[in-house]
Structure formats: C-alpha cells, structure tokens
C-alpha cells in the first residue's frame, strides 16, 4: 500500500492545529503543523476511525414535550451514526424519565449506552 496524505484539524484543545499527515493505512509516516504531542493520538484515532459522542432526541409519551434529548455515554464510531439514528427512531419512552436514565443499552454492540440528558416529568 502506498503512502497517502491527509489534512486534519486537531480538536483536542481550542488551538485547532492544522496538521498535514502522511500515512500508510493506520500508520503515521510523518506529521506537520501540530503544536503538541496530543495531536498524534488524535490523528491516529482519526485514521483508524473517528470516535464521537452522538447527541440527538428520542420520542417520549406522557410529558409536556414530544421528544427528549439523549446522548451516548461515551464516544462511538462516527460511521455508526446513521445506523444509530435509525435505531433510535424506533424508541418511544414513557414519562417520567430522569436525567442519565439509560434509554438503550450497548447500542449496536459498541458498549455504549444511550442516556437521557434531562429529566422529563409526567404531565
């Protein structure tokens, strides 16, 4: 496999270093533009597969509002977002729900749970 080039903006801290990376698969050959070491770990993960927190809403019944905000309790592969969104579309909660209540467990076998990010009382 030949070496490839890619541009990244590091989001580990607010500086947002613009980094040019030469890599082969998931192996970094060279990096330019980063101001600290933390960027390396970030870039490595981005090459393997970016991990992000997913925040969205799911339906809820019996409360004043029709949807309740939720998130994954840890970072999950970004590429799974569309499938997760699809799966979460099927969920319908019943009020009351408390903040941090688990809404769905081990979603798509990522080991991450979906948790409610606010309390919604029954009305």
């Amino acid at each position: 496999m030949a070496a490839e080039k890619k541009h990244f903006v590091c989001v580990v801290c607010p500086i947002g270093c613009e980094i040019d990376v030469v890599y082969d698969g998931s192996e970094i050959i060279s990096m330019e533009g980063n101001k600290c070491e933390k960027s390396e770990e970030f870039v490595r993960q981005e090459l393997i597969g970016p991990m992000r927190i997913l925040t969205t809403t799911v339906r809820i019944q019996g409360s004043r509002l029709p949807v309740i905000p939720v998130r994954t309790d840890k970072s999950v592969p970004k590429r799974l977002f569309p499938r997760m969104m699809k799966q979460l579309r099927r969920i319908k909660l019943q009020a009351p729900v408390n903040m941090l209540d688990v809404v769905a467990r081990d979603v798509l076998h990522t080991g991450a749970n979906i948790i409610a990010t606010r309390t919604m009382l029954r009305e």
Binding site: P66, V67, L88, R89
Partner: protein
C-alpha cells in the same frame, strides 16, 4: 367612424415613432385596442401609455405580445359547495374597495356575497400600501381619481370612528430649504385649495417647531397640508369585513372566479373554484385582475398593467418624524411623476417609519419580490433628506430596517379610476383601475357604487344596518390595573407570546377564532402584530405555531406561513 380611423392611425404613428415597430390599432367607442408584437415589455407599456395619453381615448386594451409576457392562469375548481347558492349581489375582490363596497351595500336589503381569491382580506394592493390617507393635492385635477380622493379624504374621521380603527391626521409637511423654495410655498397652498383640500397652514419657524421639532436652522418656512392621514390598514380591512358580516354580508375566502355566465347581455351567474353562484348583479372590484373579470363578463375595455412599489420599514426605535415629511424638492417631484419612481417619508400608526413606495412597471401581477435596487433607491433618496433636515436626530441606518415589502398597483393606461355600470352587460358594475390613492378614496368609492346600485336597482333600505364595529382589546395598551383584571378573568392574557410587541396568548387565540379568522402565521401576525417587532418572529414563531396547531386542531406540519403550499415545517423528525 371616420374620426376613429384617423385617431387609430395617429396612435399607430406615434407608437411607430417611439418603438420603431408597427402595431395594429383599432378604435371603437373611445376604446383603443392594440395588437401585434413588440420586442420588449417596456415597448408594449410605452405603446399603451401613448394610446392612453390621447384625450379622445377613453381606455386602452393592450394585447401587444412581447417576449416573456405572462398568460393568465385559471385556478382549478376544488369543490361545488357554493353551487345552488343565490345572492342579489356578488362582489369580486376582498381588498379595501370590495370590503368598503360590501359594507356600504349592506345598508340595503340585498343578499350579498363577497368572493376573495386569497385566504385573507386585502392581500394584494391594500396590505402592500403605505397605509396613508392622501390629500388630493397630488391627484390630477379633474379626474375621477382626484374626485374620489378629495371626497374620500374628508370621510375618514367618521369612518375610522365607526370602525374603531387607528387614524391620525398627521399632515404632509412641505418645508423650504432656501428662499427660492420659500417662494414656492404659496403656490403649494393654492394647488391644495384648487384640489379641494382644506386650506393648508403656512408656517413660520415657530409654527414648524410645534409640528416637527428639530429641523435644520436653514428651514424657516413650510406648509402643512394637514388633512393627510395615516391609518391602521390591516385593522381597517378586518373592521370593514366584520362590519359587513354583522350586517348580513357573506364573505368567501379562498374563492377564485373562473368564469361569468351571462344571458342576453345580463349577468346570470359567477363560476368559482368552489362552485357556481347565481346572481343578477356583479361588482367587479377585482383589483389586479379587474380586466380579467371584465373579460369573463364580455365587457373587456381596459387592461391592467401592474406597477410594483417597494417599501422599507424601520424599527420603532427610529422615529425621526411625526408628519409625512416632504421637502419642496420631493413634493414638487411627486406633482410631476405619475408613473415613474416616487415615494415618501411616511410614519405609520404603529410607530414604524416607512420609505416608499417605488414605482416600477412589471409584467407579472403576482410579483411582490423586493430588489436591491429598490431598497438602495429608497434609502439613498430619503436618508440624506432626513440627515440634512433633521440634523440633531439619529442618522438613518440600514441596520434599523426591519422589513421590506412590495406590491403591485392595478393601473389602467388612462391612469384613472373606472367606477361605472357596464355599457354592455346589464348587472355588471366596474370598480376598476383603483390604485393609489385607492385607500384614501375607499369611502367615497363605496358611496358612489351605492348610488349606482340605488339608481339601477332601487333596493329598499336595511333598517337594521349598524355602521359601528368595535375592535378586540389590545392588551398591551391597557394600564397595569386593567391588565391585572383581564388576567384574573382569563389567565391567557398573562401569557405573553410576542415579547417585542407584547402580544398575549389570548389575543392570538382570538385572532384564530375571529369572524375573519387567521388561517396562517402571517394572518396571526397581521391581526396581532406578533412577529412584527424587531426580532421578526425569532421568539414567538414556535409559540404561535404551537397555539395555532392546537386551536386549529391540525398537525404543525400542516400549518401555513401564508397560503397555498407555504408550509412552515416539513414534518416530524421521528
């Protein structure tokens, strides 16, 4: 006949001279008919105006084809719900003219239906006007437009009182900036008097300071044409409609006319998108489409050419003038300009200053789009006037513009009003070519139509007619004690949904359940002012969507911004 042919040839020659092209011109009963092809909209307009400028031409039918000319679209029938209904009179058009006529005719024992193609009243010219009651000083002397203007202007004190609508005679203030202009002021006074305006006031500096404080030091004299008024125009439409309804008129919104049936040159029925209504009396107050209705009835003798006007509106925090403000330079110009760019500096009853309107001939009657040129023109023309003449006041600033709008005037090539029974079709009355100052003229126009109907039909008088209508409470205008009482009686008054204009939930609910109910977000906005403030609906839109979907018992995805398919939202996320 000989004279007609000569006149037609003369007009043809003039058009050829101006456009370099030949068109066919016919003359019959004073009506000039233009046929053929011209290379542009502009050329076709010029031909129409050339024909219209002859004293011997009563009206112009302009059938000249040009690239990009719009064809009329006939609306599709949606139901037969009106089929079988019969009315003594049918009024086509629910603008201020149609509504004023409806209310006026409800003084007679006539069953009356008013048909309006939009889902709300006054959606074409009236709501796009500057809400001004013009003095007659600018109208062309001797025309019907002038007569209706001066007569209508005088009627507003009583009409506004009966209808419970904000109305204020703020006056047009013509100020002179130098001795040369000062010399013209007595002339302005004489023109106003000649035009049957009440005698204007010649003011010295002390007089000016009382009317319009803070003028530049070089301004020493001015004239106040004091009968100029400003009016709450949407409230007026609702008022006319409510009063007409309470006096027995039926109003059908969302109802377009798609044909007129005659029998032996007499009106027999009106075909609409909601079925066929039988009637022997058709009043054509269809504004931008009055020529289309005339054509349906077999009496096409004029053509409407839409003339777009754009206006810009400022935030309430910018209120530099109390009067319609016109330095001599601008006042003199508007004397001359009948169909070129014009406009003025005009306050509103709600406290938002307007610059406008422009005047731009367009080929699409539905064209209500604003343009960069229109906005620049208005700002560049009027901002320096305020800066120069009110130097102590905050400078006009584009960031204070909170809205821009445009509407089309329904002008004929004679640029005069047509208010007359048809010479061809019995039971047809035209109220057409009504453009500016149609609003100022409305009560006089309605009265003239009333007299036409009285002479033609001799209807008996409706003893139960009540000209008085009372408006809904405006919660924000109440004192704290009264507000408290209202909230105790109905807590929804205490729930303010529009924080810019302080509109309560109860007022929104009432707008949605009124006699002429709001059927869209814009409808709520027009009735309550919710969303008309500086945040332009940023805060209240989701709240009004909530209330409207609840009160109308429809899903939020079915709620309209205006009409047709103007859905606010596209659907649930999940």
């Amino acid at each position: 006949m000989q004279g007609d042919r000569a006149l037609a040839r003369e007009i043809q020659g003039e058009i050829e001279k101006a456009t370099g092209k030949q068109v066919a011109v016919s003359m019959r009963d004073g009506i000039a008919g233009l046929h053929g092809h011209l290379p542009s909209h502009q050329a076709a307009l010029e031909a129409g105006h050339l024909a219209g400028s002859s004293d011997k031409v009563r009206e112009v039918v302009n059938d000249i084809v040009f690239p990009g000319k719009m064809r009329f679209k006939t609306a599709r029938k949606v139901s037969e719900e009106l089929t079988g209904r019969e009315f003594d009179a049918v009024i086509v058009g629910g603008g201020v003219i149609g509504l004023a006529v409806a209310r006026e005719l409800s003084q007679f024992n006539l069953s009356i239906a008013l048909l309006e193609r939009h889902n709300d009243v006054g959606m074409d010219q009236t709501t796009h006007s500057n809400a001004m009651i013009h003095p007659a000083i600018q109208a062309k002397y001797g025309t019907l437009r002038w007569e209706m203007n001066y007569k209508g202007n005088r009627m507003w004190n009583e009409a506004a009182r009966q209808l419970d609508v904000d109305f204020k005679r703020v006056g047009t203030l013509i100020v002179a900036e130098n001795p040369g202009e000062e010399a013209l002021l007595p002339y302005a006074v004489s023109v106003a008097i000649k035009h049957n305006d009440p005698e204007p006031k010649l003011l010295d500096r002390a007089g000016l300071d009382r009317i319009e404080p803070g003028l530049a030091p070089n301004i020493r004299k001015g004239v106040l044409v004091w009968n100029t008024g400003i009016i709450g125009v949407f409230e007026l439409l609702i008022a006319y409609a409510e009063n007409a309804l309470s006096n027995g008129v039926s109003i059908f919104l969302d109802t377009s006319v798609i044909g007129v049936q005659t029998e032996g040159f007499a009106i027999k029925a009106v075909d609409t998108t909601r079925g066929t209504v039988r009637t022997g009396l058709l009043i054509n107050a269809a504004g931008l489409y009055a020529d289309r209705i005339a054509e349906f009835a077999g009496d096409r003798f004029f053509t409407i050419h839409p003339r777009k006007g754009e206006t810009i509106i400022f935030d309430k925090s910018y209120q530099p003038v109390r009067t319609v403000f016109a330095p001599v330079s601008i006042a003199a110009e508007s004397q001359e300009t009948r169909y070129t760019k014009g406009g003025g500096i005009i306050p509103t009853t709600d406290g938002n200053l307007q610059f406008g309107p422009t005047a731009m001939e367009v080929s699409d009657r539905e064209d209500v789009s604003t343009t960069a040129e229109g906005c620049d023109y208005l700002f560049d023309k009027f901002a320096p006037v305020l800066e120069r003449l009110k130097p102590g006041y905050e400078k006009p600033d584009r960031s204070k513009i909170i809205a821009r709008f445009a509407g089309c005037r329904a002008a004929t090539y004679k640029e005069d009003f047509i208010i007359e029974p048809s010479g061809k079709v019995r039971g047809l009355v035209h109220v057409a070519g009504i453009q500016s100052p149609g609003l100022a003229s409305a009560p006089a126009i309605a009265e003239r139509v009333r007299e036409i109907i009285r002479e033609e039909r001799h209807p008996s008088v409706n003893d139960k007619f009540n000209p008085v209508r009372n408006r809904q409470v405006r919660f924000s205008k109440l004192g704290p004690k009264e507000q408290d009482r209202f909230i105790r009686a109905n807590p929804r008054f205490g729930h303010i949904v529009c924080r810019c204009e302080n509109v309560s939930e109860e007022e929104v609910v009432r707008a949605l359940h009124g006699d002429i109910p709001a059927r869209s977000l814009d409808g709520v906005k027009r009735r309550t002012r919710a969303g008309q403030g500086r945040c332009q609906g940023g805060f209240c839109t989701p709240r009004i969507v909530e209330i409207a979907s609840r009160e109308m018992n429809i899903g939020k995805e079915h709620l309209l911004k205006s009409e047709g398919k103007s859905y606010v939202l596209s659907g649930r996320t999940k």
